[in-house]
Symmetry: C2
Subunit: 310 residues, 2 copies
């Protein structure tokens, strides 16, 4: 029996926040439906930021509700603050994801608060979740700029580990270590993830890598080697960071699936369906930069997926 | 004292064999000179194939002689057969590189001989080298399609290991394991390279990866982890394989240097000089596809090279 690795699609959130086309709610839900149908088990479907900040997410409620109705996968939503969390929780979404930047400068630029204030807000979000009378949502806690920051430069490992400890102590159900600006290398990944896994104990730790400097899949491979079994990825490598100009997007979902299945891990995802979805998304988003190598070069003739598809 | 990793530039050979512009001998020698000046210690400067097969290499003798005269680095040349080896050896080049494909189909397509016939030719090349009265050349033996073949599909590990054993027994000074068509993944790299290193004993083993499916640097990282300390790479990721349509080129020299220096290995190479050279090569080769992420995204603000440059 092959071990499972979870690839969580974040293209609908991280991928869409910087594109120039606003997708319709129907397109977003088709993306969800077809990603779930391809075998993706967790999809970050939207962000509960004010629509004045990111107009792409003006339909956050409708997308979240539609995605919950699809079934067969766990829809999640990014929440930047308590207000966003309250909006998401009121819809009985099964999981929300919160993000704090390890870099003070990045946190100030991103959410106009200090890291400390963001951690305090996280306590209020956990309290709001704990007040849910039924079907309490899971709360993931991401640590952005965990490997360094375009604004502040180096970020000490001890600061990331300390933040993880704080967020876990407050009640985070999962820690997500994010290389928001593409500064990670396999050595830094091995050191930091080993320490964070030790800190997290039984709580799951996931990774979120960007492929800014070509090391995305090398970092994924190293994190997998250290014991990480859940990874964020974005279809066609869409995404980026407004504070990392020139940065390319997230590691590509289809490339991650190819990597894991080649290594003998079962992702449950059918690459052919994912590539068909990618072609639709490319048609919906004219003029955007799509990356990813499997879509360009095709699968090796020798490729045998580990997962068995119906 | 940091451990050394050698990055060998193969852009002048692997990179130039598929481009549409024929560089002048002067441009090729400027490339050599500036790569050596940036700190590259071994450069595959040309290929001794008949000019009727690859017109780019019509000036093989002049390039090899010019490169030998530069000094400060080891110029090498690819030789496809005994005739090519004799041409190269007559110039007192310090090292020649021979290639045999593990895939019979690929070997037939590439040099119109069986793998066995290519191995027999290698014995004659070693004899020719041994007959040199002074400054005997080193002979590297590459094994192409070591991780599979676009024509034949899977290539058994035992066949690659057996070929390595044969080539070493005949007198190879180095084995180069090549993923000619970009089929390798980190799991296959770990298995095969561990076995080949065991087979090679004290003889050096190098790797030659292509980045066809985004796993180039993940494969490099894994090979490094297994103990490989010499890698072929091509400036701006130039290169490909005529029998792997759509394949992108070699792993990029500048991206490899960034990776190794980030991991605490000394390459001796100055990335800034390499990027300046890349800009010249881009101007010399209009219309070609240049890849590589450091040239696009820049170095992280936090990057501190391991090597000390004068």
């Amino acid at each position: 029996m092959a071990e499972t690795v979870h690839v969580r699609e974040v293209g609908l959130r991280d991928g869409l926040q910087l594109v120039s086309t606003i997708l319709t709610t129907e397109q977003k839900l088709e993306w969800c439906r077809r990603a779930a149908d391809a075998g993706i088990r967790e999809i970050e479907v939207t962000s509960f930021v004010p629509a004045t900040v990111v107009p792409q997410f003006v339909d956050a409620e409708a997308v979240a509700q539609g995605a919950i109705a699809i079934g067969g996968c766990t829809p999640t939503a990014l929440v930047p603050n308590l207000k966003g969390a309250q909006r998401a929780l009121s819809l009985a979404i099964p999981k929300i994801n919160y993000v704090v930047s390890a870099s003070e400068d990045h946190n100030l630029a991103n959410v106009r608060r200090t890291t400390r204030e963001s951690v305090e807000d996280f306590a209020r979000i956990i309290a709001a979740r704990d007040n849910q009378s039924e079907r309490r949502a899971k709360v993931g806690a991401g640590i952005a700029t965990s490997f360094g920051c375009t604004l502040a430069g180096a970020v000490p490992e001890a600061r990331v580990i300390g933040l993880a400890a704080d967020l876990l102590a407050l009640g985070a159900d999962e820690i997500v270590i994010a290389d928001t600006v593409g500064y990670a290398d396999p050595g830094a990944v091995r050191r930091l993830l080993t320490a964070v896994l030790r800190e997290a104990g039984a709580k799951p730790v996931a990774c979120h890598f960007h492929d800014t400097r070509g090391l995305g899949l090398a970092n994924v491979t190293t994190a997998l080697d250290v014991g990480i079994r859940a990874f964020d990825a974005s279809l066609a490598g869409l995404g980026g960071c407004p504070f990392a100009p020139g940065a390319s997007g997230n590691v590509g979902t289809e490339d991650c699936i190819f990597l894991f299945e080649s290594l003998g891990f079962a992702t449950g995802v059918d690459i052919a369906r994912l590539l068909a979805l990618r072609r639709s998304v490319e048609a919906w988003l004219p003029g955007e930069r799509f990356s990813g190598t499997i879509a360009r070069a095709g699968l090796p003739k020798t490729f045998r997926p580990t997962s068995i598809h119906r």
